[in-house]
């Protein structure tokens, strides 16, 4: 399916009208700059997704995509590709895998169209292009399409190996290697994924994050023992292990949180028990250590509560409150 077919096909009769209107719209007509229009469409797509209006989201995505191509900047193509990813995720969650697959056509074209990042008009590296590629890989992996995952992965390798911008692209793109490794893992290339994460320099947080994400995926794909195996082998810091077993922040669920989201409550509680055992081993040598241990127990208490185990939630809270304040 090409882009035009998609636009005409995605909007329940309105898309072609919308497209025609859009094609005739100039900056002077709307009073907006093209960048402002792009930002507005980006916001509208997100709002449609948040309210569950995926037809509206797809219509505006078509307009956004056309504008992004015409602007032809690394920013416009990155915005368009990431908006595609947002709609893709919503469609897939909604069970519309054929529509989601069609969205990847747009994403792939925006990947191809993303030029190098610039500074003062000079190309400096392909960081944005690698980011778009990593997001595209994740969507192909979500569809289980190993061949397309490999195709994009090959393109990324070419970007970081090319003579001119390759070295700078490699250095600028470590932050995306955890997601790229996750895509490989999702299509069964477990060893390659682990090797790729091991290549992320230790000073970058994405190295630990990469192992945490692979452990989470192992728990979702297989079982907790597979996840624990990754943690035992690759994560040595007890705090990093605790985070892997619970969640990192409000938008990055890890093992227990993800299992709960998947409705696998018993396994989630088993992961929380492992996390509790890890927290029990936290140092109490300094006031800061004690503060961290209290925080860990409070975090556990909240998660046990969310998993419906009030008794364990209460026990974890008691453990927290039995410790001195610390900070």
């Amino acid at each position: 399916m090409n882009r035009r077919d998609f636009i005409l096909g995605c909007g329940i009769g309105m898309a072609s009208v919308a497209l025609g209107t859009w094609a005739g719209c100039s900056d002077s007509d709307s009073g907006e700059t093209r960048a402002e229009t792009l930002a507005r469409l980006q916001r509208q797509v997100r709002e449609y997704v948040q309210t569950g209006d995926l037809e509206g989201a797809q219509q505006d995505l078509g307009k956004l995509s056309d504008l992004a191509f015409s602007m032809a900047t690394y920013q416009s193509n990155t915005i368009a590709a990431l908006s595609c990813a947002l709609v893709f995720d919503a469609l897939l969650e909604n069970g519309s895998s054929s529509d989601a697959t069609a969205i990847t056509v747009f994403m792939s074209e925006h990947f191809s169209a993303t030029p190098p990042n610039e500074r003062n008009g000079d190309p400096i590296h392909n960081k944005a292009k690698v980011m778009v590629a990593s997001e595209l890989m994740l969507r192909y992996a979500a569809l289980g399409d190993g061949a397309l995952v490999e195709e994009v992965y090959t393109s990324i390798r070419e970007l970081i190996e090319e003579e001119e911008l390759g070295p700078a692209t490699r250095e600028a793109s470590w932050g995306y290697m955890d997601d790229i490794a996750l895509s490989l893992y999702m299509v069964g290339r477990h060893t390659e994924a682990l090797v790729l994460v091991s290549q992320i320099p230790e000073e970058y947080p994405q190295r630990v994050a990469g192992y945490q994400d692979l452990a989470r995926q192992a728990a979702l794909d297989a079982d907790l023992q597979a996840a624990f195996g990754i943690l035992d082998h690759y994560i040595t810091d007890p705090e990093d292990r605790f985070v892997a077993l619970t969640y990192f922040n409000r938008v990055r669920p890890l093992i227990a949180h993800s299992l709960m989201e998947a409705g696998r409550t018993l396994e989630a509680i088993e992961a929380l028990e492992e996390a509790e055992s890890t927290a029990d081993g936290f140092s109490e040598a300094t006031l800061l250590d004690i503060c961290k241990k209290r925080n860990a127990y409070y975090k556990l208490s909240g998660l046990y509560e969310a998993a419906g185990d009030g008794a364990k939630a209460s026990e974890a809270r008691d453990k927290a409150e039995s410790l001195p304040l610390g900070c």
Partner: protein
């Protein structure tokens, strides 16, 4: 539309977010990071990287942090006017980072 670094970053400045920003829109103050709203493309990639949940979309900033929207814009412009470049690589967290993180409950 842009993302905004809120007060949780003050005293931490972990910079985990910098590596994933595709447009290099983070600037470093001595005490925290700020985002230049003129450069930010609202991709949200930085949000999942912050260990102290300091980053929000400007339409999601908590009520008691609304002033940080203007603060990010003004401070980023000030740093640019002073000749600062965006930061493009991780920096060591501030010496107070671990203490501040624990105090914030993370």
């Amino acid at each position: 539309m842009a993302h905004v670094v809120t007060d949780n970053c003050r005293g931490c400045r972990f910079t985990d977010c910098v590596m994933v920003c595709p447009v290099d829109c983070f600037y470093a103050r001595p005490d925290m990071l700020v985002i230049d709203p003129k450069e930010c493309i609202d991709c949200a990639a930085c949000v999942s990287e912050c260990p102290v949940e300091a980053i929000y979309g400007d339409d999601e900033v908590p009520d008691d942090q609304q002033d940080m929207i203007d603060y990010n814009a003004k401070q980023a412009q000030l740093l640019k006017d002073m000749g600062n470049q965006p930061i493009t690589d991780t920096l060591d967290p501030l010496p107070t980072a671990e203490q501040r993180k624990a105090e914030l409950g993370f």
